[in-house]
């Protein structure tokens, strides 16, 4: 892969993009270390809608000095491009899911989103393909271990599955430091299987981050739709706008999240067994 020069950096490879903002893995020739660079192209620098959040992030990240926030090494301008330099993702573990990590890096210093993705999203995404295969198998041949008193198939559009998935998406994205324990419990009550167990295991860390950061997050489910449906399980797509606020950055623009939630009917309740985030 050819490195592209950018001031004192060498751009090594692209880690993703978010609404015009580009993220690169880069080599800093001044400090001889590999870093993450977030770039705002010149034509967006002139646009306050893009420039302001970028500035805010730079300043709030520097001022915040919160160990759980994405630390920012430095920021500035090269050839009209604005850049933010941060360490390559500190959570980057060899086994972790790369796409989710890209997303973590993209959301930058938005503490809560980072926490959520690290604690919930990262370890879940890898299970997704298996889960979907399982669903396909279930569709083909009814699983004999499923409870036999399963009610008749849902309405045409899986309304109940959509409602359950939408509620979970809302619960997952609506949290505040004051209510975090109850917030976590709501998600646990509405989930099952590996997702439930993983979330439970990580919920303390998640709650700690939310409390430390003082971040309040509000989710707004904009749409849901059934992707696949068998008799007692379904995958549901959900588009969610998430607004996060804390003292350092009170007026964040909503972030658009795209999720695939696997839900299944279990003893009369519909519970979530997996969540994937689309970058």
């Amino acid at each position: 892969m050819d490195a592209r020069p950018f001031g004192r950096y060498q751009l090594l490879d692209s880690l993703g993009h978010d609404d015009g903002i580009q993220l690169f893995r880069a080599y800093d020739t001044a400090t001889a270390r590999t870093v993450a660079l977030k770039l705002l192209p010149p034509h967006l620098v002139q646009d306050r809608r893009f420039a302001e959040p970028f500035e805010r992030e730079a300043h709030s990240a520097l001022a915040l000095n919160d160990p759980s926030a994405m630390p920012i090494h430095c920021f500035g301008e090269i050839d009209g491009w604005w850049y933010l330099e941060s360490p390559l993702d500190p959570w980057l573990a060899p086994t972790a899911d790369r796409r989710a990590l890209r997303y973590v890096a993209l959301v930058g210093s938005v503490v809560l989103l980072v926490a959520l993705l690290v604690l919930v999203g990262v370890q879940l995404r890898s299970a997704s393909d298996q889960e979907r295969n399982q669903l396909a198998v279930q569709t083909a041949s009814p699983n004999p271990t499923q409870p036999s008193e399963v009610p008749a198939p849902d309405t045409a559009d899986g309304d109940e599955f959509q409602q359950a998935a939408g509620r979970l998406a809302l619960d997952l994205t609506t949290t505040s430091p004051e209510t975090i324990d109850a917030d976590v419990q709501r998600v646990l009550d509405a989930s099952t299987g590996i997702f439930h167990d993983d979330f439970e295991k990580r919920s303390k860390g998640f709650a700690d981050v939310v409390r430390q950061s003082g971040s309040t997050s509000t989710g707004d489910v904009e749409a849901t739709a059934v992707e696949l449906m068998s008799g007692n399980s379904a995958t549901v797509l959900a588009a969610i706008a998430v607004t996060t606020r804390n003292a350092a950055s009170p007026n964040q623009e909503p972030r658009k999240w795209r999720m695939r939630i696997t839900v299944q009917r279990q003893s009369g309740k519909i519970l979530a067994s997996n969540i994937e985030f689309f970058p």
């Binding site: 939408g166 998406a169 739709a225 797509l237």
Partner: protein, 181 residues
């Protein structure tokens, strides 16, 4: 939460700015911004879906999703060299007011822009689902990834979600609403 229309629009304007950044025209941006600015306000959250008839799944479900997926890719993709034909092909998926809006924008703005600035856009549908469906209409949710190339600049990518409404006209499913989220 209810009055999110302004930020909603702002967000879309931002996405639009990305697409039309170096240029002045990105088909998607304009089509979508018009659509989202002009019409249906923010109705239909998952918790407030319109009541649906409780009938068995329409046999057309696969037809609906494959048509929706093809339509979205056609509406949002074109090559600078073949933009005329590409958009004419996309029009075959459309009906009603959306067809008129789309056609007008294609002719007045998108086609000349794409040709002058050498813009190509490629959209892929990464996921599609059915929010509601009857025998004669359907609401879909699509997750879309788009790669835009302007001249010789490196391609830029945008992801978004789209709510699409289809109606059955004769034996054919056609798109009559297309709304970014």
């Amino acid at each position: 939460m209810r009055n999110r229309a302004p930020s909603h629009r702002l967000w879309w304007t931002a996405v639009a700015a990305v697409l039309i950044a170096c240029v002045a025209v990105g088909l998607t941006a304009i089509v979508l911004s018009l659509k989202s600015g002009g019409s249906t306000s923010s109705q239909g959250e998952s918790t407030a879906q319109p009541a649906q008839p409780t009938k068995p799944a329409p046999p057309d479900r696969d037809v609906i999703t494959s048509t929706g997926s093809d339509a979205a890719a056609a509406i949002l993709s074109y090559r600078a060299q073949t933009v005329d034909a590409d958009l004419a092909r996309a029009e075959r998926y459309l009906t009603g007011e959306f067809l008129e809006t789309f056609t007008r924008l294609a002719d007045s703005t998108v086609i000349p822009g794409a040709q002058q600035k050498s813009i190509s856009v490629e959209a892929t549908v990464s996921a599609i689902g059915v929010s509601s469906a009857t025998d004669s209409s359907a609401q879909l949710l699509l997750f879309i990834n788009q790669t835009t190339t302007v001249g010789t600049q490196p391609p830029s990518e945008v992801t978004n979600s789209v709510r699409m409404h289809l109606v059955k006209v004769g034996s054919q499913w056609l798109v009559d609403q297309f709304e970014p989220l």
